[in-house]
């Protein structure tokens, strides 16, 4: 099992105080108790260079983040970011829009992208300070937890 999972890292991203922005972190928190002990699960604020440092020598990373694309709240999309950049990710437009999409592209530019880099995006509704997760996002968080666990145990079996 160790060989199969030791090189996999799961990172849940977001700001815990900003409503649905915490969706990725909620996935990580719920996964921590349920994945095999040799599998690393981390919560992160999502700053790009911190993520890059976490990628390190990992063979595979699974990232979960909140999204704001205009889709219905709770919509989950899955991207294989080792194949192509995240859609609509543009760089340098904002002063501080320096997060997941930039981390992945920076890693790609520097030849440091893990062999597999899968991103789950959970569409949020409210990002207000102090808000809890929206009901649809709660449901989506559990769904993503289940999908990741399925993938993990499929590999162990």
């Amino acid at each position: 099992m160790t060989d199969k999972l030791g090189g996999v890292l799961i990172i849940g991203l977001g700001n815990p105080d900003r409503g649905d922005d915490a969706a990725g972190r909620a996935v990580a928190a719920r996964l921590k108790a349920r994945v095999p002990s040799d599998m690393r699960v981390i919560e992160s604020g999502g700053e790009a260079t911190a993520l890059l440092a976490l990628f390190g020598e990992m063979d595979e990373v699974i990232l979960v983040d909140a999204a704001m694309s205009g889709a219905a709240p709770g919509t989950v999309e899955r991207f294989e970011a080792h194949e192509a950049p995240l859609p609509a990710a543009r760089f340098g437009v904002s002063t501080h829009g320096f997060g997941l999409a930039e981390a992945i592209e920076l890693a790609r530019a520097l030849g440091q992208l893990p062999r597999r880099c899968v991103v789950y995006a959970i569409e949020g509704r409210s990002f207000a300070l102090g808000d809890p997760l929206s009901p649809n996002v709660e449901t989506a968080v559990d769904a993503v937890v289940a999908r990741i666990l399925d993938a993990v145990y499929e590999r162990v079996d």
């Binding site: 105080d17 609509a88 760089f91 904002s94």
Partner: protein, 429 residues
């Protein structure tokens, strides 16, 4: 602005919102407005009723980039309210922790956010494709800052080891010594960084700012000192509210800080460098001179060089502190809750960060006031835009917008406290 926030960042780090609008009439900038979003307002309310001991952990959540600054201003203000005196080893450790944050925060801004402006790249990713080794140097330098924060703070993001009175656990001398090698490498990298950014082309823009920073006779002030200015101000933190005030401005939910006579002022690297140059180490002073940066430096576009000099200083200072560190007998001083009023200002990477707390008999927080550096710089940023952008009004919209963003980036506006002004409007009438 053709693009909206929503479309630009598919996976949004929604930590702050803001907008910048510039009005141009008859070829001159007549008005510039920077709207920023301010989590401190939320946290001030959130802190009321909480125990004094919770302030460091709660305020650390305000900013993912400078949690230590919030913790340091919080613990010093609480210790002021509760009459706690800390020991020298604790003081040293706090300073060392702050050095870690300066290294990581300054390096992030220099390499990832600001340098691309000067080298003509839209962002760090494009810069990394052409200058991979330089970006790797920046990442390695930043990692040393993070290692320092992890070792002393317990964690690099939102350190958990800081408490009122000291630390939950003090590191051993031999634990700190493990950082020497990477800090020496970081010091070399910081020196290379100074030389690298000193070679950029800077617009010839100067203004006569009111510069405000903490100042201490024996050291480049981080945690402790008087609040001084180049206009003769010299006060303690408890007098801050008498000399500076926050007021609502029509275009922003945020409060804007000004001096009591209504003037804009500037905090951060340029202010510290001007007011505390003599307290830098010889290595940092020489590097600045060789880089052609005089103190005071009145060109905000050169703040990137001053940040590099301060990063060099932080590496140098961290090595000095580690060499002289003596393990404390106890990791924290005992703290008895009581009613009180406490004030503190410390130097966040972006500039002075002021906290004030009023506590009840049980040490519960009755009032909290937090004035982040970005809201203190906001009025100055707007003035910079109004003055400097005049030289560039004939540029096409996109180029002009880029100049505006670059001008705001001179101040390294805090990711959480003031960001994402994707919504940038130029009104040419």
């Amino acid at each position: 602005m053709a693009r909206k926030t929503i479309k630009v960042d598919y996976l949004a780090r929604v930590e702050g919102e803001g907008a910048l609008s510039v009005t141009i009439r008859d070829g001159r900038v007549t008005h510039a407005e920077l709207r920023i979003f301010e989590p401190p307002r939320f946290f001030e309310a959130f802190l009321r009723g909480r125990a004094f001991s919770e302030a460091p952990d709660i305020t650390a959540r305000i900013c993912g980039i400078c949690p230590v600054a919030y913790q340091m201003s919080a613990v010093h203000a609480m210790e002021d309210a509760l009459g706690v005196k800390i020991t020298k080893p604790i003081r040293d450790l706090r300073r060392l922790l702050y050095c870690g944050e300066w290294i990581e925060s300054h390096t992030l801004h220099i390499y990832m956010l600001h340098a691309p402006d000067f080298l003509g790249y839209p962002g760090a990713v494009e810069m990394a494709r052409d200058h991979g080794d330089i970006v790797k140097r920046g990442l390695d330098l930043k990692k040393t800052g993070n290692a320092l924060m992890s070792l002393i703070g317990g964690r690099e993001i939102h350190p958990i080891n800081v408490r009122v009175g000291g630390f939950y656990k003090a590191p051993l001398k031999r634990e700190l010594a493990t950082l020497n090698e990477s800090l020496k490498r970081a010091r070399d990298q910081a020196l290379e960084t100074v030389r690298w950014v000193a070679g950029f082309d800077f617009p010839d823009c100067r203004r006569d700012y009111e510069l405000v920073a903490l100042s201490h006779p024996d050291e480049y002030a981080l945690n402790e000192g008087r609040i001084v200015s180049n206009r003769g101000l010299n006060i303690g933190a408890s007098e801050y509210d008498g000399h500076f005030g926050e007021s609502h401005v029509a275009h922003s939910n945020a409060l804007q800080s000004r001096t009591r006579d209504g003037g804009a002022y500037l905090v951060g690297p340029l202010a510290r460098f001007a007011l505390n140059f003599e307290q830098l180490t010889p290595l940092a002073r020489d590097a600045a001179k060789q880089a052609g940066i005089d103190s005071p430096c009145a060109n905000p576009y050169q703040s990137i060089v001053v940040r590099a000099v301060e990063t060099l200083y932080a590496c140098d200072e961290a090595l000095r502190i580690i060499a002289g560190y003596e393990e404390p007998d106890r990791a924290f001083e005992p703290v008895e809750p009581k009613a009180g009023l406490g004030f503190a200002a410390t130097e966040a990477p972006r500039g002075m960060l002021y906290h004030r707390y009023r506590l009840d008999d049980d040490g519960a927080i009755l009032e909290a006031q937090i004035v982040p550096p970005t809201s203190q710089n906001q009025a100055t940023i707007e003035q910079d835009l109004t003055v400097f952008i005049n030289d560039w009004v004939d540029l096409p919209d996109e180029a002009l917008k880029h100049r505006c963003e670059q001008t705001v980036r001179n101040y390294d506006p805090c990711i959480s406290c003031a960001t994402h002004f994707l919504d940038l409007r130029v009104d040419r009438g």
